[in-house]
């Protein structure tokens, strides 16, 4: 099993196919989208592939040590657009292919008119110790 981090970016990635903000959707479209995400997480819990997931507040800051005193805080070192990570989910799956499959499924959460939203997700494997015994 290998753990992967699914990161949901709202900005900073390639241009999305649908960029109508959620508050412009019909209320039932909002509900359907949220329901899809909940069902997805519940199903992965059932298969034993869900580890954890959280929504994140939109505003983040970059901090680094800069000598004594209060550390400098910036909006982020991005030249063009400030990135925005809306949330994350950690999955524990058998293979990279399964991770891709699940990420693709999550990206297909319904948007306006119930059509897949095609959201960009970043898929990052966890670094793990190499197994001590190989078969």
């Amino acid at each position: 099993m290998a753990k992967y981090l699914l990161l949901k970016h709202y900005r900073g990635g390639p241009a999305p196919l649908t960029d109508t903000p959620m508050d412009r959707w019909a209320p039932e479209e909002v509900s359907a989208h949220i329901q899809y995400m909940d069902d997805f997480a519940a199903r992965l819990e059932g298969t034993g592939e869900y580890v954890d997931g959280q929504a994140l507040a939109p505003e983040g800051t970059f901090v680094r040590y800069d000598g004594e005193g209060r550390p400098p805080v910036t909006d982020g070192p991005f030249a063009e657009t400030k990135d925005l990570i809306a949330g994350w989910m950690v999955i524990d799956v058998d293979s990279y292919d399964r991770a891709l499959e699940l990420a693709s499924e999550l990206s297909a959460a319904p948007g306006p008119a119930g059509k897949p939203l095609h959201e960009w997700l970043e898929l990052r494997p966890f670094l793990t110790m190499p197994p001590a015994v190989t078969e």
Partner: protein
Amino acid sequence: MDEALLRSLTPAVIAVLCRRGLDFAAAEDAVQEGLVEAVRLWPDDPPRDPKGWLVAVAWRKYLDVARAEAARSRREVRVELEPPPGPAVAVDDTLGLYFLCAHPSLTPASAVALTLRALGGLTTRQIAQAYLVPEATMAQRISRAKRTVARVRLDQPGDVATVLRVLYLVFNEGYTGDVDLAAEAIRLTRQLAGLVDHPEVAGLLALMLLHHARRPARTRPDGGIVPLADQDRSAWDTALIAEGVAVLQRALARDHLGEYQAQAAVAALHADAPTAAETNWVQIVEWYDELVRLTGSPVARLNRAVAVGEADGGRAGLAALAGLDPALPRYTAVAAYLHERSGETATAARLNAEAARLAHDAAERDHLTRQAARLNAALRG
């Protein structure tokens, strides 16, 4: 196996051991060991005097540890035999434990953890689960808290306001893990109300009972928020409401008003309304006036603005909002609501969307997003 009974005995047993001269941390450890034994042995062999049994076993556990330590350090230490059981535990011992666990030298998070452990008798694992942190993290937090209060003497009178603040923090955590922290906070506040005769203790108990009574109607099965006006009032627990109102009335009769009594009075007026439309908003505004006078809290002013909006219309509510810091939590959501009541749908939609971005939890964010979506849909016609 009556787990609630076991947990309710915990503070009294800790108090007995402290009176026998143990420091708080040693007493608390010994009682936890005793609880483990009780869980193992009681199902087959329930004791006739559960508290006496726990005191005896916890004391023996302490002696075991003391002897082992003595042996390790190769010093000859004669440990005194178990003294005869003392008189029935005075209520003041347990009260002292409340003050200790809410001691001002502790951070709020540590005070909450220590209260749940020493007074609630919860295991470190249960507390960790309730706060969604690893067990090792919570164990460290509790150890640090015990070290912090190690030198505090149990016989010093404390400030009941700090105890109430900690219990209210526990209550507001609600239900996240296996343990219902709101119910636990009510149990501890009930116990405290039995130990100390103080109108604000009764006020907090009433406030918790009234909020707890309405909890089943407040969320949908999927965790979504149901606004007060849309709640199914038949799902409210009428017995808890009746108890909360009775506790509150006795407290108010003492004529020593405090913030918890004032908040409980607002909750009682909501609980008392057969329908949302029949809510007595005028009286609610008056209680918020009291609350603002007592606390000067901006959050109380914000809630007051909502009540004014209901009593006198959106415009009056917006006027009541003027002068408050827009950075206050939920300010934007309140402004959105009051603009909607004033008929300014477009502004309300925009503010709801903004409030959703500022929301502190996912359920609130989803709720506000739906509000914005609903208003935008209405604007499109």
